[in-house]
Amino acid sequence: MTKPEPANRELTPAQNYVRIILWSVLLCVPLFALGAMMAAVEHISEDGGGWVDYALVAGGILVIAVSVYFLWRWLPDFTMGEPNTPRGNRMRWVLVAIAVISALITIPLLSGGDPADGPHPLFSNAPVAPTIALVTALAWGLLMPPLILFSRRNADEHKLQTQDFGMMVGFQAFSLAAPVWWMGWRGGFLPAPDVMILFAATLAISLIVTIWKQFV
């Protein structure tokens, strides 16, 4: 069986984005089915299981087979209308690397967070286990610098210019907000400055401005 040619060359970029989103939703179906199957297999291995467990395993196999077929059949064009050049492919690998690093940071935090600290351990200043802190800090501190360097070396001049403008606006926003908040705290009418709120706001502003400059 040969891999189908991407049949969506004629799609507009917006239609292609929608297709990738729908494809990603479909990707969740076999993952959920796999989870249900694993639970059923565990029941069967523990106490023999009931007919429901066997039905879940059989149904799970069917759902996975059908959804994998359609995932292959409806494979979107991940180039998103961009030329298929070595530089473009390297930049798409940067996106994959960002997703992996994000997973390395969020999964330990979400799975190791104390439920008493609230439902959002990612957005909390509560203490975490030293191992989790070490893994997430190393994932960010050691993996991001070479990735940023690799990305800067492979981005084209338009992307570099929009990124530079986004980062400049982000830094200007930070340089305004941080001293105002700090003085407000020293004056006793604002809470203590939170470095992660400033970091997240700076990052968000930089990203929004970069995307605006790049696509609008």
């Binding site: 030329p83 530089r87 001049e157 992307k159 790049q214």
Partner: protein, 67 residues
């Protein structure tokens, strides 16, 4: 600031190239070609030379700062 005009869209259309195809020839992103065509991005001198050479023209024949 100089208002730089260019004939990139016309030259591309003459060769029946899509923005992505032109971007592939120039080794830049499709957004970069779109930004140059719409005047939102002025290309660097090396990229301007690359564009001119691709269309076998001089830079002045592709880009015009007097328009």
């Amino acid at each position: 600031m100089i208002d730089l005009k260019n004939r990139l869209k016309v030259l591309r259309a003459e060769r029946d190239w899509s923005q992505a195809e032109l971007a592939g020839h120039l080794d830049v992103s499709r957004q970069a070609v779109n930004a140059i065509e719409t005047g939102k991005h002025d290309p660097s001198l090396p990229l301007a030379f690359k564009i001119a050479r691709l269309f076998e023209m001089t830079i002045e024949e592709v880009f015009d700062d007097q328009a």
